[in-house]
């Protein structure tokens, strides 16, 4: 078992409370969380990534119970086991593609050990995601949004973290590119060691996943 959530609830400052369904993710799973805007998809993902502090309920990620971890330990757990593609991508604009992707394993010995030759590995992931080879040394600010999304995915996939999380990774892609992108992503991830959890409101993605959870409060 990679991830298990139990009775997660989140109280917003507006006073609205969202109860999330219990989730169990095993190696090889491809899970899609859908739902209309504002139903708490991103909050759910942020809780699972340890980016938001859990208020009620529990998350267990490969034996680590989030409620008992200090923020710094949680940061380390995230660095070691989770590759997260934020909705806003969160790439550092003045760094090159190579440097941004390398950030994915820079703070994790565990993930570094899974990518002994960093540069060839980064090249491999980038080309598997459909990016040209000469992109490595280009600055992020010079890339299109679609290319930036792929770079963010490459950063999350590098070092084979057990759980790959992505928040609306295809939000700015057209339907054709979306299909290509998801196909590339699924081809790149290793189903014998990893699992995928993606949040999206795009119904065209449903066929690529073996579990679909619809959030509806």
């Amino acid at each position: 078992m990679i991830l298990e959530t139990n009775r997660l609830e989140y109280l917003y400052s507006s006073g609205q409370t969202i109860r999330f369904p219990d989730l169990k993710i095993r190696v090889g799973d491809r899970v899609l969380v859908t739902g209309r805007s504002g139903c708490g998809k991103t909050t759910f993902l942020n809780l699972i990534a340890g980016v938001l502090k859990i208020q009620k309920g529990e998350i267990d990620l490969i034996g680590n119970r989030f409620s008992s971890l200090r923020p710094t330990s949680l940061d380390q757990i995230r660095a070691d086991h989770i590759g997260y593609v934020f909705q806003t991508l969160n790439l550092i604009p003045f760094l090159s593609v190579l440097e941004n992707v390398r950030l994915g394993i820079q703070f994790s010995h565990q993930r570094t050990s899974k990518a002994p030759e960093i540069e060839p590995e980064i090249s491999r992931i980038l080309s598997a995601l459909g990016l040209p080879k000469n992109i490595l040394n280009r600055q992020i600010s010079n890339l299109s949004i679609g290319q930036q999304q792929r770079v963010a995915c490459a950063r999350a996939l590098l070092g084979k973290p057990e759980l790959f999380l992505a928040d609306e990774p295809t939000s700015s892609l057209d339907p054709k590119s979306t299909t290509e992108f998801v196909q590339e992503l699924i081809n790149t991830f290793d189903p014998s060691k990893q699992a995928i959890l993606i949040v999206s409101h795009d119904p065209s993605m449903v066929p690529f996943f073996n579990t679909v959870i619809e959030l509806d409060n």
């Binding site: 934020f86 003045f94 950030l103 994790s108």
Partner: protein, 408 residues
């Protein structure tokens, strides 16, 4: 760092400029004090009529005010014959020339023994110190303002006024030398031969001219006729510095005449402590600049806070520890701080070596070409420390708030 190369370069430059100011002020302050206390050097003691040391240093060194009394030459000769004395140069003050004070002394002995600004000899820009009875030597400022050159003649005036009836217009001194600039009161003085000074006072009694010396045949005068009877004070060099204090005690207890001896350096330091307001102003200025430096650092930190917070939040989201983030900002502000410090030290050192000669000759200020003093190190330490602390602000922000706030 390279993403913010321009703002960082600007803040480094601002810091460097502030530090250059702090360093320059500190050095000029120290050099001014040193220059002041070395307005006269090479002199172990000044001997004059019994009076306070500040008063004596004011009229003998700065040519300000009037001596209350004179000392007889007999006493001076007696002192000069003491085995501890290496040299003794008497001076007589009281007269002036067109607003510049006249110092009557033994020429050329005065210029052989007197020093300024540490151990700098008094140099001649033109001519030399003649031993002729009519010899006059003009300080650089006096020569420039009065347009005097070697060979020009001048009449001195009794007292410090310009009254015609007080003029010693019966005997002309001839300029044998013009001094180079020293930045000390020497520049404003006119030196004349002591015997010549005695000559112009031959016909005077109680400040009034009784007869002129126009018709006096100097050659026919007996040798001792022009020996001064009294002088104002004397600069003294001792054979051994260890004798200074016993010698002062001896002078202060001089049996036949009430006289006293002062150490010029000590008296000048006392005088400086009175003029200490200048020093406080310097210090205040330095601290104000340091304050501006600190404001500049904090302003940059706050201005770059947003972009830094985002960058750091992304790093944290990827697992960077607090220690890593702190190390990152500390390294950055250390690079800025140390670049600014070394740039400032380098600039001031180079500027000092270029300006040394000009400052020394124009203001008598001798800048120390020292690397960094303890005071300066402390000031730089404070600036660097404040820079480091303020640079930790964004890192602390990132850790205090929820990670998602910085990422959305």
């Amino acid at each position: 760092m390279r993403s913010r190369a321009l703002p960082l370069a600007l803040v480094t430059f601002t810091l460097m400029a502030s530090m250059v100011l702090v360093l320059s002020i500190d050095r000029i302050q120290k050099a001014t004090e040193a220059g002041f206390s070395q307005s006269v050097s090479g002199v172990d003691l000044i001997i004059g009529p019994k009076s306070g040391s500040i008063e004596m240093v004011l009229y003998t060194v700065f040519h300000l005010g009037q001596p209350i009394n004179n000392v007889t030459m007999k006493t001076m000769n007696e002192i000069e014959s003491s085995p501890d004395i290496d040299w003794l140069v008497p001076i007589a003050l009281g007269d002036s020339h067109k607003g510049f004070r006249v110092v009557a002394t033994n020429l050329p002995d005065y210029f052989e023994h007197m020093r300024y600004g540490g151990d700098l000899p008094i140099l001649f820009a033109e001519g030399d110190a003649s031993s002729k009875i009519s010899a006059a030597i003009v300080g650089s400022t006096a020569a420039e303002k009065l347009g005097y050159k070697v060979g020009a003649e001048l009449f001195i005036t009794h007292g410090s006024g310009n009254a015609i009836e007080k003029s010693h217009d019966d005997f002309a001194f001839q300029i044998s030398g013009v001094l180079a600039q020293t930045g000390t009161p020497i520049d404003q003085a006119i030196f004349v031969n002591l015997r010549g000074y005695e000559l112009v006072h031959l016909g005077w009694q109680s400040g009034t001219k009784v007869f002129g010396v126009n018709n006096v045949n100097i050659e026919s005068l007996p040798d001792h006729a022009l020996d001064p009877k009294t002088v104002t004070a004397a600069f003294v060099g001792l054979k051994s510095k260890f004798k200074i204090f016993p010698f002062i005690r001896e002078i202060n207890k001089f049996p036949t005449e009430p006289i006293s001896a002062i150490i010029p350096g000590v008296a000048l330091a006392e005088l400086w402590s009175i003029v200490g307001l200048v020093e406080s102003a310097f210090n205040l200025l330095s601290w104000m600049i340091i304050l501006i430096c600190l404001i500049a650092i904090v302003t940059l930190t706050i201005a770059s806070l947003d972009s830094r917070k985002r960058e750091m939040t992304i790093l944290r989201a990827n697992g960077a520890s607090l220690f890593y983030l702190a190390r990152l900002v500390i390294f950055e502000s250390l690079v800025i701080g140390l670049t600014a410090v070394s740039g400032a030290v380098l600039f001031v050192t180079i500027a000092t070596s270029f300006a040394e000669h000009q400052l020394s000759s124009m203001l008598g200020i001798k800048l120390q070409t020292s690397f960094l003093s303890l005071d300066e190190l402390i000031v730089f330490g404070i600036i660097l420390g404040a820079g480091l602390l303020s640079s930790l602000i964004p890192a602390a922000f990132v850790y205090r708030r929820n990670l998602h706030q910085g990422l959305s």
